[in-house]
């Protein structure tokens, strides 16, 4: 009984989502081992927040999965149209955060959507983001981990 109530709540919630919503498919490629976790975030353009923030500001979705060698796919369903930027890293030591050296250069594998790169710093939001168009069923944001 309890279960079906939850299921009903869920379906009510789903029906309440605007019909224009679609799926945001996240692909993290190049995971080099089964060790630790892969953590990722979906960022949106946020006034006053410098991309990519590290404290979760400006992110609308976060995920953490067990690491599996190869590609990890995560789907967020019924996402509103808009621009979404994927960042991810391979938390091999399960510290919960990306390890960096004294200069701030990551020492664990990390990925940006579109495999975007920056000049003397992180890439720009515009280069990392994908757009979920109104009426589109889904969009895929994909990036390869670089170690």
């Amino acid at each position: 009984m309890k279960i079906s109530l939850s299921a009903m709540c869920l379906s009510l919630f789903l029906f309440s989502v605007p019909v224009l919503a679609g799926d945001l498919v996240l692909e993290v490629k190049g995971v080099r081992s089964d060790q630790g976790d892969v953590l990722g975030a979906v960022h949106v353009r946020t006034p006053g927040v410098k991309f990519p923030s590290r404290d979760g500001e400006g992110t609308v979705h976060n995920f953490k999965t067990l690491a599996r060698e190869g590609t990890i796919t995560v789907v967020f369903k019924d996402v509103a149209p808009g621009d979404y930027a994927l960042t991810a890293f391979h938390d091999e030591d399960r510290s919960g955060e990306i390890n960096s050296n004294a200069l701030g250069i990551p020492t664990e594998g990390y990925a940006f959507g579109n495999d975007a790169t920056g000049f003397m710093g992180p890439p720009k939001f515009e280069d990392v983001a994908v757009t979920l168009e109104e009426g589109a069923e889904s969009v895929t944001a994909s990036g390869s981990l670089m170690y």
């Binding site: 050296n101 004294a102 200069l103 250069i105 790169t117 003397m120």
Partner: protein, 507 residues
């Protein structure tokens, strides 16, 4: 800012997820010139260019080299050398002398016999390129079209400048990223050296200084959102004692430094990395003489104790030594030129076979004095000089002698003589190798049984481009004008490289 391990974690936690690495998108040097064809054509006309030809194999080994002269029986040990060698690979010739992949050589000397081993260092960079069967990474002055993204400096680490043996560990040195640990028996690349947690991939100079007690001092030229000088203090047993990050405005390309008993001394040239210019590493730098040269002096026992001096603009690579007078005056030397045209032009042009202007671009021997009252002066001689070395026992202390390569005459195209400079008498002794030979850096090796500063040998390599062979020289440091006591000749030529070191054992 003397940082402890905990401070590292704290400071890194507030930094953004950042690949603080230039993305080398395109280089002004990447014209439609076919560098390999230009070089090959020029080499047919000019045998001197043999020094910049890629060796015919990745590994070399010869037992019992033919010895000309009498090798001193007391001189036993290993002479290590490093330098760029793989200038051509996968159809692409490097466009700057500094970009060829590292090539480590070991001359093992025992019982009057000399054996030779050499190997191209199998860095992750070279391994990735060999697996892809193409060049993937741009470099100091070379553009690789459609290359792989560079996320961290070690992605493009070619480990090609120098070699250090410290506390039983052999390190091939670059300067843009980590030092590399190399197996001294097989000469195989083993891994990047980290001096501690949070120091993985932090730049480490090709010119660390070793105090007579074995203490190691080093720096890193770290470019990023803010440019920083990394300072390392490492114990004789190879353990990190302390480290500091010093932010420096308009940081100029820094290749070498000197130490006194009490201080580290950095001569910062006005050759400045300009952010936002997407090009090769060197082409992202601009000569800004209006900044002058700035000298930073840091206390060895307190990295926060720092003072600055100002000098006219000059550019140089290498120092000999530094010391402090009783009144606190710091004196040091450097091979200096008026500008950085050497690094922009001559060291690039040679890769396409153009040696015009090569010799004229090298620096002159200069002495610099820093007064405790804040004044600084520079005395530049007219003597062309490079690759200065001193006796290891004098590092940081007053030295009487400096050994360097020099020009032998006014029309020389490159450094042709080995010079012993007596600072007490302002006197030079020299040996001219003559046309047909190109000497490389010679290091001082002390002999047992004498405390005289120059009691020992000078050991270094030479390329005989007419006979197309390389050799290992040994000079009596007290009589260098007599020429080498002996030369151990290889049956093949080796490419010209940069720096070496001598160890009485293997490492």
């Amino acid at each position: 800012m003397v940082m402890q391990r905990r401070d590292f974690l704290k400071s890194s936690a507030v930094l953004g997820l950042a690949g603080l690495v230039p993305r080398f998108a395109h280089s002004i040097a990447s014209t439609d010139t076919d560098w390999a064809a230009s070089f090959a054509g020029a080499l047919k006309e000019d045998p001197r260019l043999l020094g910049w030809k890629t060796p015919s194999a990745d590994t070399f080994g010869t037992e019992a080299l033919r010895i000309e002269g009498k090798w001193p029986a007391a001189l036993e040990g290993t002479f290590w050398r490093n330098g760029p060698a793989v200038h051509d690979r996968h159809g692409l010739r490097c466009q700057h002398w500094f970009d060829g992949d590292g090539f480590l050589q070991a001359f093992r000397i025992s019982g009057g016999q000399v054996n030779h081993r050499a190997r191209v260092l199998n860095t992750p960079k070279l391994t990735a390129e060999d697996e892809a069967a193409r060049r993937l990474y741009s470099g100091f002055g070379t553009h690789v079209p459609d290359g792989a993204p560079v996320r961290k400096p070690d992605d493009m680490n070619v480990a090609n400048i120098s070699v250090l043996a410290h506390h039983g560990e052999l390190l091939a040195l670059w300067e843009g990223g980590s030092a590399s640990v190399v197996d001294p028996e097989s000469l195989r690349w083993q891994g990047f050296k980290s001096w501690g947690q949070g120091l993985e991939g932090v730049p480490f100079t090709a010119h660390p200084k070793v105090d007579p007690d074995g203490t190691l001092w080093a720096f890193g030229y770290a470019l990023g959102a803010k440019h920083q000088l990394v300072l390392y203090h490492i114990s004789p047993k190879g353990a990190l004692v302390k480290i500091a990050l010093v932010p420096i405005d308009a940081f100029g390309m820094l290749h070498d430094f000197v130490v006194t008993d009490a201080h580290l001394v950095f001569m910062i040239p006005p050759l400045v990395m300009e952010m936002g210019r997407e090009t090769s590493f060197i082409d992202a730098h601009r000569w800004r003489p209006e900044l002058g040269s700035r000298v930073l002096v840091v206390a060895k026992d307190d990295f926060e104790d720092r003072r600055w001096y100002e000098l006219p603009p000059a550019f140089g690579f290498h120092h000999g030594n530094a010391w402090e007078e009783a009144d606190g005056t710091i004196r040091f030397d450097q091979c200096l030129d008026d500008d950085a045209s050497l690094v922009f032009d001559a060291l690039r042009d040679v890769m396409r076979g153009d040696l015009d202007g090569f010799g004229a671009a090298f620096g002159r021997y200069a002495q610099i004095s820093l007064s405790p009252s804040g004044g600084a002066s520079m005395d530049m001689t007219a003597d062309g000089a490079e690759f200065p070395k001193v006796a290891p026992s004098t590092v940081g202390k007053r030295n009487r002698y400096v050994y360097h390569l020099g020009v032998a005459g006014g029309d020389d195209w490159y450094l042709r003589s080995l010079v012993k400079r007596d600072l007490n008498k302002d006197r030079l002794q020299a040996f001219d190798f003559g046309a047909g030979k190109i000497p490389e850096e010679h290091v001082f090796v002390p002999s047992a049984g004498s405390n005289d500063e120059d009691a020992g040998w000078l050991v270094g390599t030479v390329l005989d481009y007419q006979r197309e062979v390389s050799g290992l020289n040994v000079f009596d440091a007290q009589h260098i004008e007599d020429g080498p006591l002996a030369t151990a000749w290889l049956p093949y030529p080796m490419p010209l490289g940069f720096h070496g070191c001598f160890r009485s054992g293997l490492v």
